[in-house]
């Protein structure tokens, strides 16, 4: 059905703006709010023009208070509206953790369905555009740990539009994390009009047999690039865009691992308790027999490296090591036969060089693949 529509070339933030516009037009219960969301249209312009189009009752600025924004939205939702809140950066979400952990996902359960929270919380996340401290965080694992919420992270304009409309229609709270570097970093054909894409389904975006790269959001294009490079070396990597972390599409992950026998998780957050550990755990529980050889754990245990030694501010990983040293360590670990899965991290890339962390790590993974160690 979507295929029959006309398309236009949009970047991610334009696609998101279009989705918000369509949601406001379709359902009068939808309200948009957050810091600078109204008159200005958001710091990334995701709500550009919408306050002017729908009025300040539907699209409005709030005081600068994230717990207030989330708590207020919970109240709006309990009363029967469909709130869509913007948190200006995912790294600014933390004052709202009490609202999120104690109430957002629990209200349905703690009132036995009497009150529900059909609310969407959008937030830009991740690195890649030289933002300052706290502007490049990737807190998806924290959010995925909250019961009763869904976590969606789109990787392209077409996906962002349809997934956001699904999130707004969803009867439960949804975190919608938008990779900052994709806002204006990609342009693609986007179908016209209102359409939804299913939550909770991972997509194989490139087929291969040598190893499975599991990724989401801003790391999907990185993995696709890596797969292209690898293909030139005769190695066919499979790339799986998880898209929804909660509920997780475990069958698609397992099917891919069963085919390739190797799993690499590529994401931008800290390793310990990171979402890669969840993927690894599910693979270990349900597809261990399909893995080729070495134990599933651990590659670069970045968290043990003292973040305070990092060159530059707010760079917990690769910690006190230079990238060259990190690579070296990877090589050593690989040669010792201890590498199985690879958690990749890109946090707060201020320098150009750091913007390329993920690419460098994937390059490393490829070199390891080339040595038949992975």
């Amino acid at each position: 059905m979507i295929a029959e529509r006309g398309t236009r070339v949009l970047n991610n933030v334009q696609a998101i703006n279009e989705a918000l516009d369509l949601a406001l037009a379709k359902d009068e219960r939808v309200v948009l709010f957050g810091e600078d969301v109204g008159t200005m249209g958001g710091v990334f312009r995701a709500s550009d023009g919408l306050a002017q189009k729908y009025g300040e009752k539907r699209v409005f600025d709030t005081p600068l208070a994230e717990s207030g924004i989330v708590g207020f939205g919970i109240g709006l939702a309990m009363a029967g509206l469909r709130p869509v809140a913007e948190i200006q950066f995912a790294g600014f979400l933390y004052p709202a953790l009490d609202q999120i952990l104690s109430h957002l996902g629990r209200m349905r359960h703690r009132t036995r369905g009497r009150f529900t929270i059909p609310m969407v919380i959008r937030a830009p996340y991740g690195g890649g555009v030289k933002t300052p401290e706290q502007h490049a965080d990737s807190p998806e694992a924290i959010l995925a740990h909250v019961p009763g919420v869904k976590v969606v992270i789109p990787s392209s304009p077409e996906r962002a539009k349809g997934l956001l409309l699904s999130a707004i229609e969803d009867p439960d709270p949804v975190f919608f994390l938008e990779a900052i570097k994709l806002y204006r970093g990609v342009k693609a054909e986007v179908p016209e009009g209102y359409y939804t894409l299913p939550l909770g389904q991972a997509r194989v975006v490139r087929e291969g047999n040598a190893a499975s790269l599991f990724c989401y959001g801003g790391m999907v294009e990185v993995c696709l690039k890596a797969a292209e490079v690898a293909a030139r070396e005769g190695v066919e990597l499979e790339v799986v865009d998880l898209e929804t972390l909660v509920p997780l599409d475990t069958p698609t992950i397992l099917a891919s691992v069963q085919k390739t026998g190797r799993a690499v998780v590529v994401y931008e957050a800290m390793r310990t308790g990171g979402f890669g550990a969840e993927i690894a755990a599910r693979i270990a529980e349900e597809a261990l027999d399909y893995l080729a050889g070495l134990p599933l754990h651990v590659s670069l245990d970045a968290d043990v490296l003292d973040p305070t030694l990092a060159p530059g501010v707010g760079t917990p990983v690769p910690g006190g090591l230079t990238y060259r040293e990190a690579h070296l360590l990877m090589e050593v670990l690989a040669q010792s036969g201890r590498v199985r899965s690879l958690d990749l991290v890109e946090v707060n890339p201020i320098l150009d060089e750091r913007n390329r962390t993920a690419e460098m790590m994937v390059g490393l993974a490829l070199s390891l693949l080339g040595k038949r160690i992975l």
Binding site: G68, A79, D98, S102, T111, K150, P247
Partner: protein, 344 residues
């Protein structure tokens, strides 16, 4: 800042009362009903027939006076754990309250015609939510009012500030009631704040703030009524500080002798809100001991029936833990649900 009062410490009217004789009687009955509930569930707790329970003894007027201004199927109540009296008066069935304090899921949800959100356990998170519920009423063109309760300790939390600020900026139809009962578990109010009166904090948000004698039902009711009427008419939020005292322990697990003197509690027991209201009615010739006895009998009968009803509730099933997490059970919940039911 003056403390609004209509009854003296013995319950004699200090001036003309703003309530009709029928209202005074209705108010007294509601106070007695709350007290009866509190006393009887504590007995259940000691019998092992209730979980941990936070008693409200001495704070009945501060809660009942507010709840009497609200319509359960139209207005909203967001109580903290101390507010069983407000919940009861607002319209929550006693049996559900008992189940709730048994930590039985059957008691968690209010009936469809009672707009009460389950008691808030985290401190102050209800304030921004109440502001949101209230603002939604205006957006939807309803004239409903939201009442939210918090204690003196809760005013130190960030969410108290954020919620009041949101409510003020959006002129939300909200009544924020701070029951200043002197203690946040073991920490006295003067260690929470440097202001003399918590109601002064309203100035920081540009909204009306008022301190009322929380053990004087007439005063609480009339102050709450004014705030509710103002909110309903589009006049925005009000902060009400009800000065009262937690004569009971923090919960059924607390030992107040570790942090306060008996003398202070004794002083407050003499200002008991129910005693004062009864004396007021007797003084006005509206009440008799015969009526008192009949009321006690009726309350006991109602309570026993409610206990029976609560006891009849089926035991919660293990698999209920994964129900009502999402509207539609997701694969992880589905798997756990089947496992817990012995189907997988």
């Amino acid at each position: 800042m003056d403390t609004i009062q209509y009854l003296d410490d013995q319950g004699r009217p200090l001036r003309d009362l703003p309530l009709s004789p029928e209202e005074l009687l209705q108010g007294y009955r509601a106070l007695r009903r709350a007290r009866h509930f509190d006393e009887r569930v504590l007995v259940l707790q000691r019998q092992g027939r209730l979980g941990v329970y936070p008693p409200f003894r001495g704070q009945e007027a501060a809660q009942v006076g507010v709840a009497l201004c609200l319509k359960a199927d139209h207005d909203w109540l967001l109580p903290s754990y101390r507010e069983s009296a407000a919940a009861l008066t607002f319209g929550m069935p006693i049996s559900r309250l008992i189940l709730s304090w048994r930590a039985d899921p059957a008691g968690w949800g209010a009936p469809p015609d009672v707009n009460m959100v389950q008691f808030y356990i985290p401190i102050a998170t209800q304030i921004p939510q109440a502001a949101g519920v209230a603002h939604a009423q205006r957006l939807m063109g309803k004239d409903a009012v939201v009442a939210v309760f918090i204690g003196d300790g809760g005013t130190s939390e960030g969410d108290f500030h954020e919620g009041l600020n949101f409510a003020a900026v959006f002129e939300a139809p909200l009544v924020v009631v701070v029951q200043n009962n002197g203690w946040a578990i073991s920490v006295p109010t003067h260690k929470q704040t440097k202001v003399q009166r918590i109601a002064q904090k309203a100035q920081g948000y540009g909204i009306p703030g008022v301190t009322v004698d929380g053990n004087d039902l007439v005063a609480v009711w009339s102050v709450a009524r004014e705030a509710v009427n103002r909110a309903r008419a589009g006049g925005g939020p009000t902060l009400i500080e009800a000065l009262t005292y937690r004569v009971a322990p923090h919960t059924s697990s607390d030992d107040p002798s570790r942090y306060r003197s008996e003398e202070e509690t004794e002083r407050w027991l003499k200002r008991d809100p129910i005693l004062r209201m009864k004396n007021c009615l007797l003084h006005l010739g509206l009440w008799s001991e015969a009526q008192e006895e009949a009321l006690t009998e009726a309350l006991e009968a109602e309570f026993l029936a409610a206990v029976e009803e609560a006891d009849r509730a089926p035991e919660p099933k293990p698999w209920e833990i994964v129900e009502q997490v999402y509207q539609e059970m997701q694969p992880d919940q589905q798997a756990a649900w089947k496992y817990l039911r012995g189907e997988a």
